[in-house]
Symmetry: C2
Subunit: 435 residues, 2 copies
């Protein structure tokens, strides 16, 4: 297998095993990025779940990006895991949270596609848990996304000592190519990072409901009218850094560290998760949100998330940076085109052919990118890789990827290929100048 990332995260073929809310979200994200997707899930509801998720995702992406989206990949249903993963460049598993089940399915996957990166959506298990007894443990990693997968950029990536480092890099490059942010964990732990934080909140919230301090609706208001708004753009630590005022983080820590000794949490106990508590929560949740169907709530959520992401893109901040970068990639893909190699003397290509073609590809990409015609760009080009020479006057493909940098700079990477593979790679740094 050649990881698609090697040729600039071009779309390939993904296998999605398990088509619940998370698996369907993965299928949508891959397909919207132009990947062909083969799904396997024995549930009779799976095709409908995928169709609805695709519909939501299309609507959200249409609203989120101004660039032309790549041609949508084909989504097909496979009758078995083996059929789904055959020829896959990437496999993502999103079945129920049972280690036995996951290991059985991993055996099926790796019998048919042992070399493909195999990401697991597990919320809780470590890669070492998942690798035990596997045929190709080196291909296995955790790639834990967040619902809705097609909108939230975060994906926690975790490997073990057994995971092949090159495969790990290639898998992350694929995920970045989908507009995601792979956050690689420094150590394996149960439940990774975000779900440990969520589990802590969840346990405390269960106590609050159980003890009659607040209803589910009141707890939700306490989140979304307060710290939830903050956390859409800065996390815990950056927020507290500000709360310390000009004295900063050390001041904040000195002020609030001592609270750790106070009994501000019941988390030292685990709430008994009995039928009474389930009914209490379910009934309160019905009272709070039952006037909307799940489908309506999904659309409301997606429309709000889209608006936040667009606001953050305008601010060039947080998740908005990823949206901008991904849009740049999509514009570039749309601008990918074929160029003729300039002929030099003696029937050989002109020695400057990579730079000449890269300059043309860049102009085409910028035409889609730069919506302020009064502004100009100055570019510094460098040929970073030259594999071989094409035939003179041949038609080659040049694909220009634009990556916004901080401030008014862009990084452009032009990959020039012909039907036999990579020819050259040119990098350019561009700075926008106000005229």
């Amino acid at each position: 297998m050649t990881p698609p990332a090697a040729t600039g995260a071009a779309p390939g073929r993904a296998a999605i095993i398990g088509a619940g809310v998370i698996g369907a979200g993965w299928a949508a994200r891959f397909a919207l990025n132009g990947w062909d997707v083969a799904v396997h899930d024995p549930s009779p509801n799976a095709p409908r779940a995928i169709a609805r998720c695709m519909e939501n995702a299309r609507a959200a992406w249409g609203a989120l990006f101004d660039a032309p989206l790549p041609p949508e990949g084909r989504v097909v249903f496979a009758r078995s895991t083996a059929e789904a993963v055959e020829g896959a460049d990437y496999v993502q598993e999103s079945v129920s949270e049972s280690l036995d089940l996951k290991r059985r399915i991993f055996a099926d996957i790796q019998a048919a596609a042992p070399d493909a990166p195999l990401g697991s959506s597990t919320s809780g298990f470590t890669p070492s848990d998942l690798q035990r007894g596997a045929r190709a443990p080196g291909s296995i990693l955790v790639a834990h996304p967040f619902n809705p997968v097609y909108l939230l950029p975060l994906v926690e990536t975790v490997g073990s000592a057994q995971t092949d480092p090159a495969l790990m890099d290639a898998a992350e490059e694929i995920l970045r190519g989908l507009g995601m942010f792979p956050l690689r964990l420094r150590k394996e732990i149960d439940a990774h990072i975000a779900d440990r934080l969520l589990e802590a909140v969840w346990r405390e919230a269960l106590w609050l409901v159980r003890d009659g301090v607040a209803t589910t609706e009141e707890i939700d208001e306490a989140i979304r009218l307060g710290f939830g708004l903050r956390w859409a753009q800065m996390g815990l630590f950056e927020t507290y850094r500000i709360a310390g005022g000009e004295a900063g983080m050390r001041h904040f820590l000195a002020q609030f560290g001592p609270c750790l000794a106070l009994p501000w949490t019941r988390l030292t106990d685990v709430p008994p998760f009995d039928e009474r508590l389930v009914e209490l929560i379910a009934a309160q949740s019905d009272a709070q949100s039952g006037r909307w169907t799940i489908a309506e709530l999904e659309r409301i959520r997606d429309s709000n998330l889209t608006a936040f992401l667009r606001a953050l893109r305008r601010a060039d901040w947080g998740a908005g940076k990823l949206v901008a970068a991904h849009e740049g990639r999509m514009r570039a893909v749309a601008a990918a085109d074929r160029f003729r190699v300039p002929a030099g003397e003696n029937g050989a290509p002109d020695p400057g052919w990579p730079l000449a073609i890269a300059a043309k590809a860049l102009r085409a990409a910028l035409a889609g990118w730069d919506d302020a015609p009064a502004e100009r760009w100055t570019a510094t080009q460098s040929l970073v890789e030259q594999n071989r020479a094409p035939r003179p006057a041949a038609l080659v493909t040049a694909r220009c990827r634009l990556e916004p940098q901080s401030g008014e700079a862009l990084q452009a990477i032009v990959a020039i290929v012909d039907e036999d593979g990579p020819l050259a790679r040119v990098e350019q740094t561009l700075v926008r100048e106000r005229s």
Copy 2:
């Protein structure tokens, strides 16, 4: 004291005791709503902190609201607590989190203003803690806001059995008049609701940093690129309801309840908060955010929050509903005006005077509100209260408050007063009709 809420949350005079980040935020929120504010804080930095906070708050409110803001209240510094609270309609205490200190300051406050509602910004103490030994325990409540106080609508309100229920209602009406959402707790507990959730996250995050699983920056990315985006618009329970798919909350609970038995958190221990951990966090935070000053981070945060709130207002959802309602109030205040009482027979006012004046006041308020002139409103008016009759042909003041309802409806409440007090109250329900 007449609580300002009794006459429709008109601006009064607030005393702010303690002018750190939270106290300064309160001062800004009151002043921007037209309240005169007296601040006491012995720190020589206080005036500068207030000035900077006012500047941030003015910029944020200018960007957030399209309505004309009310004339800004005066902010003055008092030399003592007694001087600050004299004549105050509302007192807010925001000093350091020490019960002894708070009790001492409460004694000073209540010696000078025993009847004014006294809200405490405490993160952790219960009203019963604060009331012990107080001169007027019935006037004391917890009113716990979130930084930045001038932008985040949430304020947790907590009373004890000793707190005067009428005073509690009046205090909440004042807070609503500031555009806030008072979330009243059903029971007193240490750290209320939101800070219990935050404390749980904080403890878990300290473990993650201490154990070298993630840096402060990585934890922040795990928040703001994932669940943080979700929580700006739906809380924990509504989000999980969706995650359960069409099967809803019970399905989600059945699926994830069992995880409670897994060791997904280290919260059963309290991390030792030693100098090593403080240095580790402070250094990581510097690496993450040190390129911005606190002032820059404040402006970035406020600008992002403003964009989220505007997006939510367009969606008529969550915190955006509060912004719309507050803007309606501000437009109405701007439209408050004086009207002449129509004369009837025998030198008495025309019997229809309240409805006639209310209709005029409503038209004035809608002129500011309704930015789509092609749209019309149909109104149903009802006289809900008539205190006495004015002199015929007298000039009276009619203030119309517009409260957006769900869908395309508005509730208008017109209060008609003369210099001797309330005359009548008319309520109107309006439905917008597309022409």
